[in-house]
């Protein structure tokens, strides 16, 4: 792509084209057949959007967070599975861009040139889904490390070209002393260990996997896991997911209105119905305002190359967690209310034109992934000490 084609407005136009022409066409069959959205991801790949956060000198787009949000929402409006795959890939790539070193550039260039997917391996059996801790340890074996690990959920694990795997630094290290290890899927020892039979988000194909392989120390990304999480992984995930969810809810809301107008529905003359629609729009607008606000702040920190201390700020972390909590709850509620308004025929039964019951099932996952319960607990702790100097204890 030339510089001009990577301007935000051009990228959005490309994303809109892909969304309406490709994602919309395949979203229904991806869901019914419980399969990876091959056609949609191929379109995203062909538009070079898999290199979104990668620097231009390595063949990427070097995009910002605001446009990342808008692309995620655009893709999410037609196929939430495809949007989530793009968001998860993009923010994992951002971790390598932000925290990797020169030895990792060849992998970034490979991702940008060939559109390989980068999958995250953070989940562990019995680990409780705490992204800041890891159980399985790296074991020193000569000059290398042995990486042995099971993961219950690896989104698009079968289709990934690379994995970014969270490991405990060593068998004698505490769980919060973790490392991110970049592994190529071509390396023997990455094994699919089961299937994926969820309620929704079927296209993400979030399968269980096992890993048993030797890695060079150069495959470890970043020196501080905590920095990688607080500066990139957590905010970029919360923002990207929330944007994709917003797109899904907003998309089906707009399709519903278009359908009513097209069919000259008598309900359009009902004042109580119009008030109900307007009430849902209030929720959508509130979520979008929160999304824009957190994204703007995060973009500013990134553009100013702010020091780590700014990312440790308790108020910033509470706001970023709150975005995920609020978006996951309120957008699902909007779609749930929409099912009620649409009724049995349009809301509950499968309908490719509207896709409402699919979006309902897809969005049900939002509060569960990176569980709201855990996030509420951590926000609860943070707000107790928000006005204190607790950050000084964390500086290590």
């Amino acid at each position: 792509m030339t510089g001009n084609q990577t301007a935000p407005e051009s990228l959005l136009a490309v994303a809109e084209g892909i969304s309406t022409e490709v994602l919309a066409r395949w979203a229904g069959s991806v869901d019914r057949e419980n399969r990876f959205p091959t056609e949609s991801v191929e379109a995203i790949r062909a538009a070079r959007l898999l290199g979104y956060f990668i620097p231009r000198r390595l063949g990427g787009i070097d995009g910002d967070m605001a446009t990342y949000c808008r692309i995620a929402a655009t893709l999410g409006s037609e196929c939430l599975s495809s949007a989530m795959i793009w968001v998860m890939h993009a923010h994992q790539v951002a971790v390598i861009v932000d925290h990797g070193n020169a030895t990792h550039e060849e992998y970034l260039a490979d991702i940008a040139a060939h559109g390989k997917l980068l999958a995250s391996v953070t989940s562990e059996y019995g680990g409780g889904g705490d992204v800041l801790r890891a159980e399985s340890p790296l074991l020193q074996e000569g000059a290398q490390f042995r990486l042995t690990r099971k993961a219950p959920v690896v989104s698009y694990g079968e289709q990934a070209g690379y994995y970014l795997i969270t490991m405990r630094a060593g068998p004698d290290r505490p769980g919060h002393d973790a490392r991110l290890v970049l592994v190529s899927a071509a390396q023997p020892g990455c094994t699919v260990a089961g299937g994926w039979h969820p309620m929704g988000l079927k296209g993400t194909r979030s399968i269980p996997m096992q890993f048993d392989l030797l890695v060079d120390p150069g495959r470890i990304v970043g020196s501080s896991f905590r920095q990688a999480v607080l500066m990139t992984l957590a905010p970029a995930a919360h923002i990207g997911w929330s944007a994709a969810w917003f797109g899904a809810a907003n998309g089906v809301f707009n399709r519903f209105i278009n359908l009513l107008r097209k069919s000259h529905s008598p309900r359009l003359g009902s004042e109580s119905f119009l008030r109900q629609l307007a009430r849902l729009r209030v929720s959508l607008d509130l979520t979008r305002a929160m999304l824009d606000q957190v994204t703007l702040h995060y973009d500013q920190l990134r553009k100013q190359q702010a020091s780590f201390e700014h990312y440790e700020d308790l108020t910033f972390n509470i706001a970023s967690g709150n975005l995920k909590i609020a978006a996951s709850e309120s957008l699902f509620n909007v779609v749930n209310e929409l099912v009620e308004l649409a009724g049995m025929h349009l809301g509950y039964l499968e309908n490719d034109e509207l896709g409402l019951e699919r979006v309902f099932r897809d969005l049900r996952s939002a509060s569960l992934m990176y569980s709201n319960e855990r996030l509420l607990l951590s926000n609860g702790r943070l707000l107790l000490v928000e006005s204190s100097d607790i950050k000084n204890v964390w500086l290590k």
Partner: protein, 82 residues
């Protein structure tokens, strides 16, 4: 070991996941080694404040205070004597 040491030790045992009551906590070992992370340190702070019926001032919220059981005990002892 005085009452302050004992109270600190009791709070550490409660809030360090891999060191339940029966396990030994060395008061001179870095608390990070026992799994004290950014979230557990808040739980620990609340527990200590509850035990000693105080709210610790910001000048006590330092990495060198929360380094080991002993540094924590000493800082609390100093604070209580203020």
């Amino acid at each position: 070991m005085d009452t302050i040491d004992e109270t600190v030790l009791r709070c550490l045992r409660t809030h360090l996941r891999k060191n339940r009551q029966e396990q030994v906590i060395d008061m001179t070992v870095d608390l990070g080694e026992y799994g004290l992370d950014s979230m557990r340190v808040i739980d620990l702070l609340m527990a200590l404040e509850g035990e000693f019926k105080v709210v610790f001032p910001d000048d006590m919220l330092r990495q060198d205070v929360f380094e080991t059981g002993t540094t924590l005990s000493n800082a609390i002892r100093e604070f209580m004597a203020r």
